[in-house]
């Protein structure tokens, strides 16, 4: 049996950037050893707060894209981007205003769901268009991809059944397409 832990009071640490004055930086870097440490070290040294951070190789070989959600109450965005840009390995920084960007995140969670609860949990996952990854007698592992706010709501509702473990990836984002070139917004 996995060790279970409840997240009482639903909205716990996951109020996640909703109330926070945040901004998203999409940072294109040379994919070299230590580049993440340079970025993280800069934030630590200058006292900037990172809310979430996601890194993966970018579309061009030898480049990675780091998506950082920064807390703008800790420092002005302009200083953060200028200091970041001083790092030799940083090639390009795009500032993504939450209003003008598409944001996505992935959540996976293991939820307590014995026979009496299972159908409720399954229907909740259905409503959110999530996926069921694995089921056991007492617990169920689900995943959901979507806008971070949607994930927040999902997480809140899951909390009522008892979350055993939960992991979110941190958000990734790209700029919204211009009206003219936008083919169709897919939610």
């Amino acid at each position: 049996m996995p060790r279970t832990r409840d997240y009482p009071g639903a909205r716990s640490a996951n109020t996640y950037a909703e109330g926070m004055n945040h901004h998203i930086l999409s940072v294109l870097v040379q994919n070299r050893p230590g580049v993440l440490a340079r970025v993280a070290g800069l934030f630590a040294r200058r006292g900037y707060n990172i809310f979430s951070l996601a890194v993966a190789p970018a579309e061009v070989e030898g480049r990675s894209r780091i998506t950082i959600v920064v807390d703008l109450d800790s420092a002005p965005l302009e200083q953060i981007t200028k200091q970041l840009f001083k790092l030799i390995d940083v090639i390009k920084i795009s500032e993504l205003d939450p209003e003008l960007s598409v944001e996505r995140e992935l959540l996976i969670a293991t939820i307590k769901s014995d026979a009496t609860q299972r159908s409720e949990v399954v229907s909740l996952v259905d409503i959110f268009e999530g996926k069921i990854i694995a089921v056991s007698e007492a617990v169920i592992t689900v995943s959901l991809e979507g806008h971070p706010n949607k994930l927040n709501d999902f997480e809140d509702l899951l909390g009522e059944y008892g979350i055993v473990e939960l992991q979110r990836t941190g958000r990734v984002a790209l700029p919204k397409l211009d009206r003219g070139s936008r083919l169709r917004a897919v939610n």
């Binding site: 050893p33 302009e78 200091q83 840009f85 001083k86 030799i88 390995d89």
Partner: protein
Amino acid sequence: MTEPAAPERITGAQALIRSLEYENVDAMFGYPGGCILPAYDPLMDSPIRHVLVRHEQGAGHAAEGYAHVSGKPGVAMVTSGPAATNLVTPLMDAYMDSIPMVAITGQVPTAAIGSDAFQECDTVGITRSCTKHNELVMSADEIPMAIRQAFHIATTGRPGPTLVDIPKDALTGEMTWHWPTDEEVFDSLPGYRPNTKGHPRMIREAARLILASERPVVYAGGGILKARAAEVLRELVELIDGHVVTTLMARGAFPDDHPNCLGMPGMHGNATAVTAMQQSDLLITLGARFDDRITGKVDAFAPDAKIIHVDIDPAEQGKVRRPDVPIVGDAKYVITEIIREIRDLLQGGTRQADTSAWKSQVSGWQEQFPMTYERSAPGDLLKPQFCIEQLNERAPKGTIVTSGVGQHQMYTSQYWKFNDPYTWVNSGGLGTMGFSLPAAIGAKAAMPDRTVWAIDGDGCFQMTATELVTATLEKLPIKVALLNNNFLGMVRQWQEMFYDERYSEVFLDSSNVPNFVMMAESMGCIGILVESPEEVGPAIEKANSINDRTVVIEFRTDATEGVFPMVPAGASNSDLILHPTQQDRAEALKPVPDSVDNKLKDGH
């Protein structure tokens, strides 16, 4: 530099030394040890002069001193582990003061990295926040490119220290020699494109503001020296007939004996420089960064001034004070362009605003608030300011002065008349005690024909005094003026002023122990003790006449002497504490309330 026809196989160590030669390194400072050993072998056959220091920190500061006076990057080479950590202070010092410097550190063999091997440390991790860039190379092949990148990054844009960490097996391994082309270096650094040209529209706007200003002050910082812009600075100042303040990092960038020079501003700046900035309507900021030692309380700093801010580092724009006209670019280029725009505007019929009322106000302050100290009575201890005036008066032309950190540094900046650029070497941003002696050795290595005076305090001197051995054995004869007041003078002054004269752990008793004269002589130098004013001049003359040995003069100075004027930390520059003998006149520095005339003019 012609490439040999056939591919040439050499070791990483040979490639390293050859790369340094290709970068035109003529002198470097270092200390050998385990992991860097392979590099010291081909060094024996190289024309590069290696100065063997006695502590790795000394190598770093010497490299800084070399870079300060020559404009070329200083090079320090040391081994791994403790040697690399000993280099951290100079790297941070160079980073804070934007000194071009290249550090080469040995590292344990690649296979041992991460295993807590003997003399292993995470050099790249430790120095990440105190270098402009650093790199761990993993094979011999990478060495020439890493060295080229290190020199390129250290010397372009806003200069700074770089570090190349080289594992032992990369030094012993073989590679096919190839010297990367400019293009290859450029392509290898896609994220590094420093902007040197200012924005033309902003430059025009700056010229317009300058001509419209009635109370302009040029705030010249260390960037003037880095950009080799002292001449164009003078041209600009004379064109607009404005005043200049030179920060601690910019002393000598504009001649102190020039009528438009107001000297040093800031915490211990002279009253006129501080107040002129405070009441100016336009600060023409050139290569300066609104350091807290300059601004005092930021919210109260130069409240009426518009700000033109020329800096090569975009991150300095708006970091402390939001500029009205931000210009990112090389100071020399931008100043030249501003001059051209001003000339254009003047030719087009624009008239410069009337600055005469301001000028007479400034010269009034200069008359009322000269730098001052009380002479010592016969039989009393020496006044440090007097010693510095005497050193300055008797210094041969072109003398280079280095200093440590504290009272002696401030006295030197205040009382030495700096009339030439690149004659003042000190630790500004980091405030590194012990800087002056190794920095003087580095300066002497760069400029062997010049007189180099290291002005030091008894606290600072004891931090790096061991480098006197280096000066002697490497035949780099410098001169040390040791102002011994028995105390950590600046800390003592703060305890006197802000801690109810409770002197905690500041009494060094250095007139008792050590015996500085014997110490100097034990290291092959000439030691002279000076206790009374009439001995000061002759001792300095004697020191100046000795050019084949390092001379240390110990001056016994008065510990109760304080550095004035002073803006207490965190206070407004308007609340400057004057020298006790000038405090009765403090009212003269208060701003005159805006007259109706001024208000009307502003409304125009």
